[in-house]
Symmetry: C2
Subunit: 331 residues, 2 copies
DNA sequence: TTGTAGGCGTTATCAC
DNA sequence: GTGATAACGCCTACAA
């Protein structure tokens, strides 16, 4: 049904090996023979079978980008960065997300269907990375602190970002800054929490545990927490939320309750999702350089694929973006 | 370096074929032998090589989702739908976007690296589809009207959606509705334009070509057009924009100029991007059922992969969502 | 119940 | 310049 190299060779009256190198423009084969072969291939509609080539050459030319979900707000920026950087090589990036079931992703890696991978998915645990990563299959992990051979981390300094956001509010003159945290088991959540603590330490202040509220990174949880704050009469004057979604939820709650932002309470989020600039008031936040993160991850992987080793793990900085929700001064 | 089946077999003292079937739980092999083989595999850290298996079995177990870009607002909903539907099978969906260079995507298909594909990317032209699609490689194209063997279209009725949006404004009592179109070479843009025309026809009205403005689907183009409208003193009372981005650009321009929406001008967009619900005033729009589109595409492809043929092309309906930007009546 | 042999479609190594 | 021949790692008749 589908023509293979042998068919082309027969039709052109040459051997399979000659056909093979001829079609790859090898200068060893005479111009005229080459043309005959090319024509035979054309007539048969021949296309090389990538799988067979991969098996023989022991490389697939593909690198995997494994995510937890494709939904997140940054994801597209990240992938854009990776794609732009990979584009100069002749690798092809393919994206896959785990959804509920990460076993498929694991198999993907274990079965060597790619030459390397960039992983932003905490479900792929260290053990899998350990067994999968090798000379011939380097891996870059994003936003995780892992040190294994053939595995390089590319991180973003959430902790410093969170410290700056908190300090920004403190420096504005707010004596106490409340914190809406992420889920306890979230690595990012923990780093952002640590940054919040750091900010206090940097001024020799004590963290008041009662100022810490536990959210789940969803808009709804931010909304609920903000309502509770207002209704319990324990309104802080300033809030740092561990992500924008929760900050926006809080904004919505305060809007409904007639609590003015930033006059009554200042708010800073984290992530700089697109919405942050569109809500009213616009939301101050901490921006992660997702595009750059993608570029850095890709460049690192490409270097590893070229056989380089031993460079330092990368850590990129965040940027504080001040908008309306934290402009002004304690009322 | 990497252990293969032969190594496992040797270590277990059996032949390769026995090892092969044993590892796939074939009942033909004796319990004790199986255990010995399993242990050998375990000790060596053996993992089957997916590429080799694919070559032999002539199937990869993967289906490709080929997009133009990963950035768009719907894309993640679409992919979520596809993934949810594919999940019940044992295929694995992998996503790739062309960015600047679609030749990589074409190669991907031509080299048979997947068992099937879902394509939402107009750069992959009919000729490529023609040569690629086959019994063993069915393809679903989204939002394109293509009829080829082994290629099924899954579409969304943009035209009717655009007609309804336009009629909605007309029915509100606005005598004239301006149209901010997309780029001329856009298939969607054309369908939405046709719907706009249909709405006029349905009331026996004539389209006034001067009410049609040509945008580029970007927020900036919507902004520019709205400014021109206001500054030239040719303000319409109602506007239908071919997408939300442009509608939101117009909203921003009117906001700056003190033109009130919906009192001075009513606006309806298309797409229902997340932002539409958050801008002020919130934007009326036409929602495409992206998730359902993904589910339908995936189910269709899975049926084709099972060998079914001859079912009807799918067309899904849009939904008009009325928000603040078109509530009220001609002022 | 297990082993032998051949092949999937390609590339690589040598001869000629 | 070109052509045998042997892999790549796995699967599957068929034979024993």
């Amino acid at each position: 049904m589908v023509p293979c190299l042998k068919d082309v060779a027969e039709r052109a009256g040459v051997s399979v090996s000659t056909a093979s190198i001829a079609l790859r423009q090898d200068p060893r084969v005479k111009e005229e023979t080459r043309r005959r072969i090319a024509q035979a291939a054309e007539e048969l509609g021949y296309r090389p079978n990538g799988i067979a080539r991969d098996l023989k050459t022991r490389r697939t030319g593909m690198i995997a980008i494994l995510l937890h979900s494709l939904g997140g707000p940054f994801f597209s920026e990240l992938v854009r960065g990776i794609e732009d950087a990979v584009h100069v090589s002749d690798f092809m990036p393919i994206v896959s997300s785990s959804g509920k079931d990460d076993s498929a992703l694991r198999r993907f890696l274990l079965e060597k269907r790619v030459d390397g991978a960039i992983i932003l998915n905490s479900n792929i645990d260290e053990e899998v990375l350990q067994t999968v990563a090798s000379e011939s299959m380097p891996i870059v992990v994003l936003d995780r602190s892992i040190h294994l051979e053939h595995v390089y981390p590319v991180m973003c300094d959430h902790r410093t970002g969170a410290r700056r956001a908190t300090r920004h509010l403190m420096d504005l003159g707010y004596p106490e800054v409340a914190f809406i945290s992420g889920p306890a088991d979230s690595y990012h959540g923990r780093l952002r929490h640590d940054g919040y603590v750091d900010a206090h330490a940097s001024l020799g202040r004590q963290v008041d545990e009662r100022m810490i509220y536990h959210g789940t990174f969803t808009e709804g949880s931010g909304y609920d927490i903000a309502r509770r704050m207002a209704e319990n009469g324990r309104m802080p004057q300033a809030i740092f939320a561990a992500n924008d979604e929760m900050a926006i939820g809080a904004l919505r709650a305060f809007g409904e309750l007639g609590v003015r932002v930033p006059q009554d309470v200042a708010i800073v989020g984290f992530d700089d999702i697109r919405l942050a600039n569109y809500v009213t008031p616009s939301l101050s936040t901490v921006r992660q350089p997702m595009y750059d993160l993608g570029v850095t991850a890709a460049k690192t992987l490409l270097r590893m694929l070229k056989g380089e080793r031993g460079f330092a793990p990368a850590e990129l900085q965040t940027e504080l973006i001040v908008r309306q929700s934290s402009t002004g001064f304690p009322g």
